[in-house]
Symmetry: C2
Subunit: 192 residues, 2 copies
């Protein structure tokens, strides 16, 4: 499947765009701190808008969750390209992998609530996954080309290892980072 642009419905009129951003930001921050079962009324309050404004832009709870998720996926992809420009190939790959520790099907996570609403194998998740894979493949291929990563590694191998770290229940960030250090060490070509 060729990558498609991520679905985004940000309006163009100034006041509407500002409220869209405020809602997505308030939702992301609230979900990160309290889990995704916060009421829409509470999210609207934290965004400083009316519940009617939220519903005009996001016709359902799932629509808001999708917007937050797409926003995060867009950030993941943007960081890949930023790291590609700013860092050496292996460092870019490492920084990128480190930046999305914490995503996964944990309790109260965005991904798990969207799985209930859409199904794990929905077109929505497929589009997001393809975009992330394209960004990751860029970094992996450059690190391979620089001789800094084992040439037999596929992106799916790396994603599985990171996914395994994310699968740990309520993992502490320090532990997650230690485990990632181990994975990164293992990505290096064997000393000859």
């Amino acid at each position: 499947m060729a990558p498609q642009p991520l679905p985004c419905t940000r309006p163009t009129r100034a006041d509407a765009a500002r409220n869209y951003d405020r809602l997505v930001t308030a939702a992301r921050e609230t979900f990160a701190q309290h889990g995704t079962d916060t009421s829409l009324e509470e999210i609207a309050r934290r965004a400083g808008v009316g519940i009617g404004t939220l519903y005009r832009r996001f016709p359902s709870r799932t629509a808001l969750l999708e917007a937050v998720y797409v926003d995060e996926i867009q950030s993941v992809c943007d960081r890949a390209y930023d790291f590609d420009r700013e860092l050496e190939p292996f460092d870019a790959l490492a920084a990128w992998l480190r930046s999305f520790l914490g995503y996964g099907l944990s309790k109260g996570s965005l991904a798990s609530e969207l799985t209930v609403a859409l199904g794990k194998d929905s077109p929505f998740f497929q589009v997001c996954k393809v975009n992330v894979q394209e960004a990751g493949k860029l970094l992996l291929d450059k690190a391979k080309a620089a001789g800094e990563v084992r040439s037999e590694l596929e992106l799916m191998d790396v994603m599985r290892l990171v996914g395994g770290i994310n699968m740990g229940r309520d993992i502490e960030p320090e532990q997650a980072n230690r485990l990632l250090d181990i994975v990164l060490c293992g990505l290096r070509p064997a000393a000859s």
Copy 2:
């Protein structure tokens, strides 16, 4: 991890046990037909009990979902042992695998809503998984011993193949069964 008994809180007093069964049955049937977002009040109505009765036995929505899930897992395990007694080894394995097509992280499924509440890697899911794996391993080992399945296959291999079928979004039962037939064909030892 040594298998532990599945968590079950069925009461012993007659009227309470009867209502427990009615609630679990009503919940399972309703979730199968309408997805898991049916209200608890609706489930109590369909079970023919009061909402207070539901809350006396299941202090939260998640508690009821766990009971339904455990009931399904217990059925999956019981069927394995029943098929083991009643069928030839390969037929037993095939019947067992066929019997749980349809489980997975699809839209509105029990497993996906429980993932939101508990996390994918929760102790609850671990205990369920261990029990299923023990039952499956019994059938697989017997089919191998009878020479009817490739000896190099591990239970995780088989579960992954079936999981892949279950991952298809809103798959039709006929298609799921066709795909399983393909998998079963592939489990056979190669003709020499």
